[in-house]
Amino acid sequence: MMNSTVSGSPGNSAEPDPAILEARNVCISYGENLAVNNVSLLIPEKKITAIIGPSGCGKSTLLRSFNRMNDFIDTVSQTGSMTFRGEDIYAANTDPVEVRLKIGMVFQKPNPFPKSIYRNVAWGPMINGMRGDMDELVEAALKRAALWDEVKDRVDESALTLSGGQQQRLCIARALAMKPEIILMDEPCSALDPVSTARIEDLLFELKQNYTIVIVTHNMHQAARVSDYTAFLENGVLVEYGETDQVFTRPANNRTEEYVTGRFG
């Protein structure tokens, strides 16, 4: 049933964008359970790639494997290769800390530290020994995340006083302050109201200029609105991967069509 000819790269474009991340034959399992089944794909640089699929299809697992966040789950095992600019993310001498410095992450539920707004943004750069004007860095990151105007007078207040949407933008600012090259987003709007969601989606367009974004979402409309490329995962298998327009309007695979038109999932 699965289309074995699914291309690892978001093919059809005349000039394929250069890839920054590459997964090749990646299988990830929790104990005996295979969550990601032989997935190969190329993530193009400075584009937004959406990973969609029904709940439990392995999309979060796949996303978290890009910056080795699955390392903290004892039962997870992974095979296949995964590279960042050609460097093996899972090589024995690869430092996961270095990987995460290059590949930042924003989570499903906003998870600011119980510290001040300022300290939330400055914490990462500080522990990693970044030199320079910290105030400037914090301000720049908050501006980038479109949060500065709302918090500039109260950066010393606890981050937990912010609304959910503001907290999520703070988490984005926190990730940006590390100057990563890629930002992974795991359903970043699923805990937010529509207004906050719209603000974050606007923000994604801004960020695309400078960052590569991989976003997992169960909201197909969101994927259609924000992404350049879309990967459709079902039961851990990459069913279809291509330019978002094509995936949503002329899907090559029946299952994709059924999913994006809302017939299941």
């Binding site: 966040m69 004892d74 270095e98 989570f107 998870n111 530290f113 990462g124 990693n128 937990l160």
Partner: protein, 320 residues
């Protein structure tokens, strides 16, 4: 069978209902078993309240009697405690200083080691190690305190005297060390709970910023668990204040107004033991000192427990 149930006539159905409550919402059945249980459980709850109230009332009455004869000022500020010897003197400060020595000393042992132990258990230990260490801690907590006292006297004190020969046979340091070991499991276990209640999403957030486990623990998890850790500290201190047997055995019975841990001292609790075991006639002033000291002890531990509760409640709702 289903058929017959379906074919039950409305009349029959009415009869069935009539048996129970005669088609009314009231019932003659008094549910006596329910009421009995209700009374029983209320009684159990009531006993604990009554006991507490009785303790407080008796403490207050006898303490009041004590202060009819000894001025409050002399009691709270006096530096000599000799209620059983002549010339009699009723200054509680020597007992307080003894208690402070034990509390500070035991905290120096229990808090750092307890927190370190909890950090290891919650952040670094594998599940298998946890499954072994946690029960061992609980066994440690279950050892009778008199055993600890004996351990202090026969092991800790000789070792101390080997290192510091000027140490007295009965000394505060030895008692403080074993009280520290005694409250260690409680501190470790409560701190472990506090650390584990920090949502894993915070840890993930920190790791995703390129933090090492050490940085995540020191700078995110520990601060986030601070209220729980503080509450554990307060409870540990409160337990050290109330600790009796080990202190009586190891620290001696010399009400010394000193902060030198190598000397023999007496704490409030060991004074109470000393007088209770002796043949002090009831109703005398010496007998009433028991209650005055107990009242101080009670107020201190109550205040600490309230403080711990306060801290827990105030900072607990930080994470939903």
């Amino acid at each position: 069978m289903t058929d017959s149930a379906l074919s039950t006539s409305p009349h029959e159905f009415g009869d069935v209902r009539g048996d129970r409550a005669a088609n009314r919402l009231t019932s003659n059945n008094s549910h006596w078993a329910e009421r009995l249980l209700n009374v029983l459980f209320f009684g159990c709850a009531f006993i604990s309240v009554v006991t507490t109230a009785a303790v407080i009332i008796i403490l207050a009455r006898e303490t009041w009697g004590f202060f009819q004869e000894v001025p409050v000022r002399d009691f709270l500020l006096g530096t000599r405690w000799t209620p059983l010897l002549n010339p009699k003197s009723y200054g509680i400060l020597p007992l307080l200083s003894g208690t402070v020595l034990i509390v500070v000393g035991s905290s120096l042992v229990a808090l750092p080691v307890g927190v370190a132990c909890a950090v290891y258990l919650s952040e670094f230990a594998s599940d298998r190690i946890r499954q072994v260490v946690k029960p061992v801690l609980e066994i440690l907590a279950g050892i009778p305190t008199v055993v600890y006292g004996f351990f202090a006297l026969t092991f800790v004190t000789p070792v101390l005297r080997m290192i510091l020969p000027q140490t007295h046979v009965f000394n505060a340091a030895s008692a403080a060390i074993v009280v520290g070991i005694m409250v260690l499991p409680m501190v470790a276990s409560l701190c472990d709970d506090a650390l584990r209640s920090v949502p894993s999403s915070l840890r993930e957030g920190a790791y995703s910023l390129g933090a090492t486990s050490f940085e995540v623990t020191i700078s995110v998890v520990l601060p986030a668990a601070l209220s729980g850790i503080f509450a554990a500290f307060v409870l540990a201190v409160s337990r050290a204040i109330g600790e009796t047997m080990a202190v009586t055995l190891a620290a001696g019975a010399t009400p010394n107004f000193t902060l030198n841990p190598l000397e023999s001292i007496q704490t409030m609790t060991s004074y109470i033991v000393q007088v209770s075991l002796g043949d002090t006639p009831s109703g005398t002033l010496a007998y009433k000192t028991l209650f005055a000291v107990a009242a101080v002890l009670f107020s201190l531990t109550l205040a600490l427990n309230l403080l711990a509760n306060q801290v827990m409640n105030k900072y607990h709702e930080v994470y939903e």
